[in-house]
Symmetry: C2
Subunit: 407 residues, 2 copies
């Protein structure tokens, strides 16, 4: 049994048109009008495929294909939101490959013992509401529903109000549910598969991730008549922190990555000395202990810079996900399915967080990676060759079928 390449390619094109950017990318940020349109399109396709669709309290969408009564489902899923000016593979590819698996089984009239569920998680990217993966986090009991509801975007709009506005504030409880397995296909977002000429990554786990938020308070003043000697420039301090955050990765070496992705200046005009700067720090490593060391270095760097510039600060270490190993049985099943496609594959870790990270706390979980051209993602140039996508989707099909069992 093989997935239908043309149909899958067509659905990638169709969904990719909703929120498409002029340069071939995608802007379909969580709970915007574009996200609603993407969701509506997916729900219609799920119903076309005969799935029973439900929506939970966090706007997560589930489409169920029945199996034998009383058995927990094999869930396949990912997310349909994007970062601003992102690409049309990150997230939606996993959802569409899951849909294609179900369509393929329908065509073959193959019934499974365990039901199959297609899942679409809300606000995985964390581009609008933080933290990322907020909806699978609630489902896994790691984030309180109330906190998630009260998450605000930069305009102060609450997540729950946007869920309601776009019509995806569902009634089903967002709590752990019995699972045979959770499978997520996703683009690698790194360079390794392409560099090694492989089509499939069998993901053994997700690196540890730590997010911090730094707010620096300097003294806002006029850029002209204020002599250098009396300044307390929040941006000069923040800029030094940005350099030192990169220095932490250099000092620790190995696989650790450190990033300042978000930085906002107030009042942010050419002729005012910045009075306040807020910035994000993202640090990741396969080993939790490395992140502990990175945090100590970050604390010290911020303290030193602030003292020198005469500014005050708050440094919040507000989100931490430990190294998440995936289920050995599921990883082994995915590896067998990858091997069966005849394509090149390897075992690897994920450097990005995914809903699978939280789902691993609910049931046996594994992931399938497909290559990212030049290792690029979260950008309009994001690209995965169709040949690799087909191998990935067939791997997902094989693994789902083995875990669900033929009826």
């Amino acid at each position: 049994m093989h997935i239908d390449r043309e149909r899958l390619e067509q659905s990638i094109e169709d969904l990719g048109r909703i929120g498409a950017t002029a340069k071939g990318g995608l802007t379909r940020v969580a709970l915007t009008d574009e996200d609603k349109r993407g969701r509506d399109w997916l729900v219609a396709r799920m119903k076309d495929a005969g799935l029973r669709v439900s929506v939970d309290q966090m706007g997560n969408i589930f489409g169920e294909r029945p199996g034998e009564p009383g058995l927990p489902p094999v869930m396949m899923g990912s997310h349909a939101d994007s970062v601003p000016t992102g690409g049309k593979y990150d997230g939606q590819l996993g959802v569409l490959c899951g849909l294609e698996v179900i369509r393929t089984l329908n065509d073959a009239r193959t019934r499974t013992r365990h039901p199959l569920t297609l899942a679409i998680f809300t606000n995985e990217e964390g581009a609008r509401f933080q933290p990322a993966m907020i909806a699978s986090g609630v489902m896994a009991g790691k984030i309180a529903l109330e906190d998630a509801y009260n998450a605000r975007d930069r305009d102060g709009i609450r997540l729950v109000d946007e869920l309601e506005r776009i019509g995806y504030l569902g009634g089903e409880p967002c709590i752990p549910r019995p699972l045979r397995a959770y499978l997520e296909l996703h683009i690698e977002q790194g360079p390794f598969l392409e560099e090694e000429g492989l089509s499939i990554g069998v993901v053994e786990g997700i690196v540890a991730i730590a997010w911090s938020r730094l707010t620096i308070h300097g003294v806002q003043d006029h850029a002209g008549p204020t002599p250098m000697r009396i300044r307390h420039d929040a941006l000069v301090a923040a800029a030094d922190v940005v350099g030192r955050v990169r220095g932490i990765a250099r000092e620790l070496g190995g696989d650790v990555v450190t990033t300042v992705g978000n930085l906002t200046v107030q009042p942010n005009i050419p002729n005012a000395i910045p009075g306040r700067v807020q910035l994000s720090i993202d640090m990741r490593d396969p080993k939790d202990a490395t992140l502990d060391r990175a945090r100590v270095l970050l604390d010290r760097a911020v303290r030193e810079v602030s003292r020198r510039e005469g500014v005050t600060y708050e440094l919040e270490h507000y989100w931490r996900v430990p190294y998440t190993p995936f289920d050995r049985e599921v990883v082994g099943t995915i590896e067998r399915a990858a091997k069966a496609t005849g394509a090149g594959y390897r075992r690897m870790l994920s450097g990005a967080g995914h809903d699978a990270q939280y789902m691993a706390a609910i049931g046996p979980t594994g992931m399938v990676f497909v290559p990212s051209h030049d290792g690029r993602s979260h950008c309009e140039e994001e690209f995965t060759p169709m040949d690799d996508i087909v191998h990935g989707a067939n791997t997902l099909l094989g693994a789902a079928l083995e875990l669900a069992g033929r009826a």
Copy 2:
């Protein structure tokens, strides 16, 4: 003859309520609804004082008090727009002291040979539309009317459309007009008067100012799975430039000041490596030659940083105002008027740009400074003691009366 302290204080309070912030500051950004309300209030007060009010093509407001026929006016003025979360002295104080001078002359039934004109200039701050002082720049023929009309704010809205929207797109040509003199009272925005215990600054000229805009193009990518070795992070490069811009002031020493006040990151989310950063560079010095050297150092710093980080850039040196000396006769007149108040005063330069800078190209020009507490401005804590304001307003009154001549 002396100005009326209570009346002046009341008008500072009244106008300061329009756009007031919770912390005692002011947000009345150019051509917003608040700016319109501030303008409407001022126009009403100008009419109350018997002035004939007109509005020109750039929304500059003029209120005329007649003198002998055919003689050019003594113009007093400043601006009524503020930076976001700015203070209630910058700009509006000069307008209100000019209004108070006219009210005082009215009360005393004093007629002058030369007419007196109260002027309110549009968008002096440059917080919303750039460059700063755009309307006096057009009046002086230094900026083309069409370019000013097409200036866009960060939401892409054109200046001319906002002028029309708030009802201040006037019909009078915005061109040089005959002037006996232009006088502008303003807060110092620096620490020197307060440090020396003086009430009045007799301003001899305005330092040279250079504005540049740097756009850095890196490679947007995912902050997780992208190894440090393949990154081209636009923010890491920009942060280094921020540090080097301060280094330029250190290297050149003396009175030079350098500031990065504006910095925006794209896509500006915690888990994406910044693909694009735009930032402003503001450099000022009494000597034009110092800014020439600063520019060479800036060019070199940006080139070096970009080469090291493997990013590309555009560096635009888009605005330059040379050192502007004020008129010797007018400065002398202001100094006599300051001395006559009995308050402490000194001659000094202005480190900030003012509409007076462009007006000096049209007619004999001078400025009166009053102290800024802690040297602070462009912030909610901006403060000038009322005693100093009274001395400044009386200086403006004395100078205007001497230049206009009693009828």
